[in-house]
């Protein structure tokens, strides 16, 4: 079914392309928001991601699942958006949507504090935490995405956990 949609979209069918968009958009949006935690950045990144997905339709092997492919493109777009933003302006955690009711965590009562603590991490640590714990990428996959040695990813996760543990203990969460 999905393979047929992709094939039809490749031939120029707007109907198939719209249906395919409705499959890809939530995947891109979820990944973008979980990484950026900012609505405006997530929108830009997710839009760029679906644009890239459609631009690359010709090279996608439709016998493979589409979700990992779209998610990976969205993750890359989100990373680029964050990098661009951090170059133009210092990362201001006050802009993060962590206090918004929209970002209420899905889990335990402590989750709000955890999200706030993650948001306060340096960008490089926040990224590996989001990719590993919220998007389920392995250390090796993160290393590939971020073009870093696996050891560097592991040490960033370790530093992030150490910081989070301290922060959360002070708040009697962990």
């Amino acid at each position: 079914m999905l393979a047929e949609l992709i094939e039809e979209a490749r031939t120029g069918s707007q109907t198939a392309a719209s249906k395919l968009f409705r499959v890809c958009w939530p995947i891109a949006w979820n990944a973008a928001f979980r990484i950026t935690q900012q609505r405006a950045l997530a929108e830009d990144a997710a839009q760029t991601a679906v644009q890239n997905v459609f631009r690359s339709l010709a090279t996608f092997d439709e016998t493979r699942p589409i979700e990992p492919w779209v998610r990976r493109i969205a993750v890359n777009a989100s990373l680029n958006a964050l990098r661009t933003e951090s170059k133009t302006s210092p990362v201001d955690t006050s802009e993060l949507d962590v206090s918004s009711p929209l970002t209420v965590a899905e889990g335990s009562p402590e989750s709000g504090a955890v999200i706030a603590a993650v948001a306060a991490l340096p960008l490089e640590q926040r990224l590996v935490v989001a990719l590993h714990y919220w998007l389920d990428y392995s250390a090796a996959e993160i290393a590939e995405l971020l073009e870093l040695p696996v050891g560097t990813v592991a040490s960033r996760v370790s530093r992030a956990l150490k910081t989070l543990r301290t922060e959360l203990e002070e708040e009697h969460v962990s």
């Binding site: 120029g12 707007q14 928001f33 459609f54 956990l161």
Partner: protein, 238 residues
């Protein structure tokens, strides 16, 4: 402690809000705007032999031209132009033949150089096919009248085309479900049908273009009468 923290982190995935409708609309517009490029790229990657170069393809071609009722298209020496002419009987190496009614013109040739796998290309029309056209018969398409039909058959030889080619179970025809709302390079005023199929271990892409949109059923029937006479053999067999 560390395990507890990791568990807590996993349980603390931020809920994702619904994207704003205007953001979704803009994303869809951006994505759909990429369709022409994706389509062009798909063709370039998957059908590299389909080019818009003029009769160069035909220079390497074993061409076959037939006019008249019940005459199988034939393959002969390379034509000096893409002119329509009759040159004998079907050459087994291309393995395609078709009977043309009076008033139709056609050509069969190999769109690949001799060193590459054979890619039979067939152009048929109920108008005079212009000489020196390209593989997709761009010039012929531009000269179509409202009641004209242009049939293009392209053989796919790539090992990984990305398309599905269902087996041809009955005489070749097009039906309503084969019509596409639009197709790159096809005039908006022309109806266009496309069908992919495999037969005798070969894969083909059929394009049928009509000089008006929607195509009258009588003209579709006329195209199908020609398509039904199309015969295929495995390469290397007559």
């Amino acid at each position: 402690m560390s395990a507890d923290l990791e568990k807590l982190l996993r349980e603390s995935r931020p809920a994702v809000p619904t994207p704003r409708p205007e953001a979704t609309e803009r994303a869809e517009a951006l994505a759909l705007a990429e369709l022409p490029r994706a389509r062009e790229r798909a063709w370039r990657l998957r059908l590299p032999r389909v080019t818009r170069r003029p009769a160069l393809a035909l220079a390497a071609a074993a061409a076959a031209i037939a006019i008249g009722i019940g005459i199988g298209l034939a393959v002969g020496s390379s034509p000096s132009s893409a002119g329509v002419r009759l040159e004998g009987t079907l050459t087994p190496s291309l393995g395609v033949s078709v009977d043309l009614p009076a008033g139709w013109t056609g050509r069969i040739y190999n769109a690949q150089p001799a060193s590459a796998p054979t890619s039979a290309t067939v152009q048929l029309a109920d108008l005079a096919l212009p000489p020196d056209d390209d593989d997709t018969a761009t010039k012929a398409a531009q000269q179509m009248g409202p009641d004209d039909v242009l049939i293009i058959l392209l053989e796919s030889t790539g090992s990984k085309t990305g398309f599905t080619y269902p087996p041809l179970a009955a005489p070749l025809r097009i039906s309503d479900s084969d019509f596409l709302p639009a197709f790159e390079g096809v005039s908006d005023s022309h109806a266009f049908a496309r069908r992919l199929f495999s037969t005798h271990g070969r894969r083909f892409m059929l394009w049928v273009q009509f000089g008006q949109k929607p195509a009258p059923s009588s003209v579709v029937a006329r195209a199908n009468r020609v398509l039904e006479t199309m015969r295929f053999t495995a390469l290397g067999h007559s």
